[in-house]
């Protein structure tokens, strides 16, 4: 089985977000990790290979540092990797990324494409489904369970307030939700082997695309940081009073209810 996993390297969940001089998100000194949801996809891909045979290819887009994330995936058990790296992708939107990804994926054989359901940096949760649209294959997003039988994939998917079971024919794109599996910890033997596994870096030109082909549809007008978190306060008063005030604050100040 030819398994492709799309991964993205993101800021660590604990990273402090600051804006640089030009008002953009400053990536200096930030610790980078594999998008946690993509780890479920990697793990699922490797499990499918272990069960059904074949190989797993990781595809990613990013700069030189993305190689760290890819090596980790290789250490977990992925067989090879393709990295699309091009300065033109720095100002990409989901449309652009999906088009480029689709081009890269089309150069590889695939029976199933896995990805995380959402990236923790942009929180957009679009690329997996967009990819499926371009490739003209079915998509199932937010899966909690996956079974493959020949060319049929049956997935349990999370919906609001419950789950549903959907069956599609492969090839298809499936995006992973937390709970699909427990991603394995890479073994040192795996880490050593990963250094030798093939990692191909390609540019847009290699894909036969130019910057003009992939102009983004959405514009980012600006970024902002939230109002600095206020120091915690103790709500005074008797229980009834305090409860009332808390409810009010949660609705009006915190806007969470």
């Amino acid at each position: 089985m030819n398994i492709i996993v799309y991964i993205k390297q993101t800021f660590d969940t604990e990273a402090k977000i600051v804006l640089d001089g030009s008002g953009k998100i400053d990536a200096n000194g930030v610790n980078l990790i594999i998008n946690p949801y993509d780890e479920f996809a990697i793990e699922e891909g490797i499990r499918l290979k272990e069960k059904l045979g074949g190989d797993v290819t990781v595809v990613s887009m990013g700069g030189a540092r993305a190689q760290e994330a890819i090596r980790t995936a290789l250490a977990m058990g992925v067989d090879k990797a393709v990295l699309v790296s091009d300065p033109a992708l720095e100002n990409a939107d989901e449309w652009t990324n999906a088009e480029v990804l689709a081009k890269a994926v089309s150069q590889l054989p695939y029976d199933i494409i896995l990805a995380g359901r959402i990236a923790i940096d942009d929180g957009a949760s679009q690329i997996g489904v967009r990819l499926a649209e371009i490739l003209n294959v079915p998509s199932i997003s937010s899966i909690l369970k996956l079974d493959i039988d020949g060319t049929q994939a049956t997935a349990t998917r999370e919906i609001d307030g419950g789950t549903e079971v959907i069956e599609v024919s492969l090839p298809a794109v499936l995006t992973a939700q937390k709970g699909l599996n427990e991603p394995r910890y890479p073994s040192v033997a795996g880490i050593m082997k990963a250094k030798k596994k093939p990692l191909k870096t390609i540019t847009l030109a290699d894909l036969g695309m130019s910057a003009g082909d992939i102009a983004p549809k959405m514009n980012v007008d600006k970024y902002s940081l939230p109002v600095a978190r206020q120091a915690g306060r103790v709500i005074p008063g008797e229980a009834a009073q305090a409860a009332q005030e808390l409810a009010r604050l949660l609705r009006e100040e915190a806007k969470v209810l």
């Binding site: 969940t13 919906i159 959907i166 549809k217 009834a240 305090a242 409860a243 009332q244 969470v256």
Partner: protein, 329 residues
């Protein structure tokens, strides 16, 4: 010339989801400001009766696409239908709630339409140049980006509870149009085998937006009932600290902390939890932390945004009442 604002309305079992009504309210405001037509689009089977509700919610026009194949949501069928409709009607903007269906449908639809998509927006304003601009959280809300587009239609999903659903105006009338469901056979590729709606509306701990958690201060398993009541009013999940799990009051699957689950909800309410680092390691990334504890020295107060020093057995039921009032507003 693109015209009209489309709201893709979500219904289940012929109940309209609250977020759609929120969008209609907000859409109504923008339509009034810009002179655009507000159109509610509903897909389903046997949905005629919804038209009037949608009119009362603010729609100028209601498009009903009623077909047996649309009874349950499937990505392919809905994408196919909406793609054709939107290409035909050419609205300026198409909005939908960022629900499970919204997240699944809109990226596919956006790409088929050849447009961008602003997803999970927490702010939307009209704009001179680009008609609408959107504000959305990135990095789990540690920053925001402001998006606009020159491409039409503008597609966006809005986070539930961002806007307020105004009271319906039963006197409102809307133009009701029935469209046929134009579904490409090629899009019917997924077979929906079963739908399981959880009996308990309580969400799963790991991905819950709001969590109410109890620790050593709960004093016994029977007392978790008060937390569950609070949780159910606001649609929260229930969690527990290690001390509570060790004492056998809650099963391990409810444990939040270093050796339990790591959660990052928008709101975490810690009741009778001291806030030792092992627990914080599991919930410290929560957006807002509220604590109720009778010990003012408890470490949890150092990380909480709002804290109440008091007896949780007194405070929690009162809080439940207050939340009930909020929800019913």
């Amino acid at each position: 010339m693109a015209k009209g604002i489309f709201i893709i309305v979500e219904q289940r079992d012929l109940q309209i989801r609250k977020v759609s009504l929120e969008l209609l309210s907000q859409g109504r405001k923008i339509a009034d400001e810009t002179g655009e037509t507000l159109v509610a689009v509903v897909l389903g089977n046997g949905i005629e009766g919804l038209a009037q509700t949608l009119a009362a919610a603010g729609a100028d026009k209601v498009i009903l696409i009623d077909d047996a194949k649309l009874a349950d949501y499937t990505t392919g069928a809905y994408t196919s239908v909406l793609n054709k409709l939107i290409r035909k009607e050419e609205p300026q903007a198409v909005l939908m709630g960022n629900t499970a269906i919204g997240k699944d449908l809109t990226p596919r639809l956006a790409h088929r339409l050849g447009v961008g998509l602003a997803s999970d927006c927490t702010g939307m304003e009209k704009d001179e140049k680009s008609f609408l601009t959107f504000k959305r959280p990135i990095y789990a809300g540690k920053a925001f980006e402001y998006l606009s587009s020159n491409v039409r239609p503008i597609l966006a999903t809005i986070r539930p509870n961002t806007f307020k659903a105004e009271d319906p105006d039963a006197s409102r009338q809307a133009e009701i149009v029935k469209e046929a469901a134009d579904i490409d056979a090629a899009d019917l590729r997924a077979i929906l085998k079963e739908v399981a709606i959880a009996a308990s509306k309580r969400p799963d701990l790991t991905e819950a937006n709001i969590i109410v958690s109890g620790g050593r201060g709960m004093k016994g398993p029977e007392n978790y009932v008060i937390l569950e009541e609070l949780a159910d009013v606001i649609g929260a999940a229930v969690g527990a600290s290690r001390a509570a799990v060790d004492s056998g009051w809650k099963e391990h699957k409810f444990q939040v902390g270093q050796t339990g689950k790591t959660v990052a909800p928008t709101l975490y309410i810690a009741c009778g939890i001291s806030g030792a680092i092992q627990h914080l390691a599991g919930m410290g990334s929560s957006k807002f932390i509220v604590c109720i504890n009778k010990d003012p020295e408890a470490n949890i107060f150092n990380v909480a945004d709002y804290g109440i020093v008091g007896d949780l057995f007194e405070v929690v039921p009162l809080l439940t009442q207050e939340f009930k009032k909020l929800v019913n507003e």
